[in-house]
Symmetry: C2
Subunit: 176 residues, 2 copies
DNA sequence: CACCATTATTGGACAATGCATATATAGGTG
DNA sequence: CACCTATATATGCATTGTCCAATAATGGTG
C-alpha cells in the first residue's frame, strides 16, 4: 500500500522512468521498503490510470523507449493526504524469531548455528547501511529526516547484534 | 510461509482447535507473528490436507463441535526440516519510515505529530511486551529461547523510543 | 425481549507481492 | 559467432494474507 506513495514521493522530487525508479528505490529507500521490478511497473501503471501520475514517452533510437513518469497535481495532493492520514502500523513479521521460538527441537549446535547465521546476516545489513553515503547536512528538515531513517536502520541492526551476543552467551551457559 | 510452521510448532506442544490456536497465537507468538482468524483455519485445513496434521472432532452439545488438531509424524518431520533449512529473511517493510522519508512536504508541526504518534504507539507496544508474564526460568533451552524472543521485541522497542527522542530533538533544533 | 458477546468454523472476494518469462536492441567478451 | 549484460517495459500465475459475511448455539445485559 505504501509503495504507491513511496513512488509518488520519489516522482515528486524527480520525474523518472520505471527502470530508473527501480534503481532509486533499491538505493535510497531500500532499507525500509523494497519492490520487485514488475511491481514498480504495475504501480506506475496504476498511478497513471488513476491520474496521479502522467507518462511521457521519450523516443530513443539506440535503446527501447523511455516512459518518463511525473506526479500530477492530483498525485501530489494524494501524497499529502497520505502523509497526513493516521498511521496504522501493520503487525510485525519476524521469521527468524518464529524459528527461534521452536528451535529447541533441534540440537544445541543447530540453535547456535541459527543465531550465528542471523549474526552474519545482520552484520552485512549493518555494513550496507553504514556504506550508504550520508548527504552533507544542509540544515534542512528533509535532509535531516532522510538521514534519520538511515540511522533508524543502523540503530536497530546494532540492537539486534547486541541481543544476539547476549542470547548466544545464554545459550552457552544453559548448555554448559 | 512461516505461519504453517508456527502452527505446526504450537500443535507439537499441544493439540488444539482453530479457535484456541488463534488465541494462543495472539498471546504467545503475537509479538513476532500474527494471523487473521480465517487464515488460521485455512492453514489448519491445508496442514490436514497435506497430512501434516490430523483432526479429530469433539462433539459438544452446548456449543459447536470442536476440531482438535494434532501434528502428525510427518508434520513434526516437516517442522524439523523447516527449522534446519537456510534462513532467508524477507525485506523490511516500514511504513512509518516510508512516511517520515517524505514528511518534509508537511508543516513541521505535522512532522512532530507524526513522531509523537509513533512514540505513543511504540510506548504501548513496549508496555504490552513487558506485561507478558515471563515463565519462571527452568534452566531449559526452550524456555530461555522463548524469553529471548520477548526480550528481542523489548530491546527493539526501546531502541525505537531512543531514536524517536533523538529525532525529535533534532527536529526542534532544525526548526528553532 | 432485543441485542450483543462468546464459542467455533467456513467461504468468497480481492489486494499486494514475487517469480518467471517475453520482447527488443546494443555493446562487450571469449 | 555465441553468449552475456545492460537498457526498458510488460504480462501471467501462484502465494500469502486481509476483510467481510454466513452459520449456529448459548448466555448475559439493558
Amino acid at each position: 500500500m505504501s509503495l504507491r506513495y513511496a513512488v509518488l514521493g520519489i516522482l515528486s522530487i524527480q520525474p523518472m522512468s520505471g527502470y530508473e525508479l527501480k534503481k532509486v528505490i533499491d538505493h535510497s529507500v531500500g532499507h525500509f521498503w523494497t519492490a520487485d521490478q514488475s511491481q514498480v511497473y504495475r504501480t506506475l501503471a496504476g498511478l497513471v490510470e488513476e491520474g496521479l501520475a502522467s507518462r511521457r514517452t521519450v523516443v530513443q533510437d539506440d535503446r527501447p523507449n523511455l516512459h518518463v513518469h511525473n506526479a500530477t497535481e492530483r498525485g501530489l495532493a494524494a501524497l499529502d493526504e497520505w502523509l497526513a492520514s493516521p498511521l496504522r502500523t501493520p503487525p510485525t513479521r519476524e521469521p527468524f524469531l518464529a524459528r527461534l521460538f521452536f528451535a529447541d527441537r533441534m540440537p544445541t549446535e543447530a540453535v547456535r548455528e541459527l543465531l550465528e547465521s542471523r549474526r552474519r546476516e545482520v552484520g552485512e545489513q549493518l555494513a550496507a547501511l553504514e556504506a550508504i553515503a550520508v548527504p552533507p547536512a544542509d540544515g534542512g528538515v528533509g535532509n535531516m529526516l532522510r538521514v534519520a531513517t538511515l540511522e533508524n536502520g543502523i540503530a536497530h541492526a546494532k540492537t539486534e547484534l547486541d541481543w544476539l551476543a547476549t542470547t548466544l552467551r545464554r545459550l552457552d551457559r544453559a548448555t554448559a
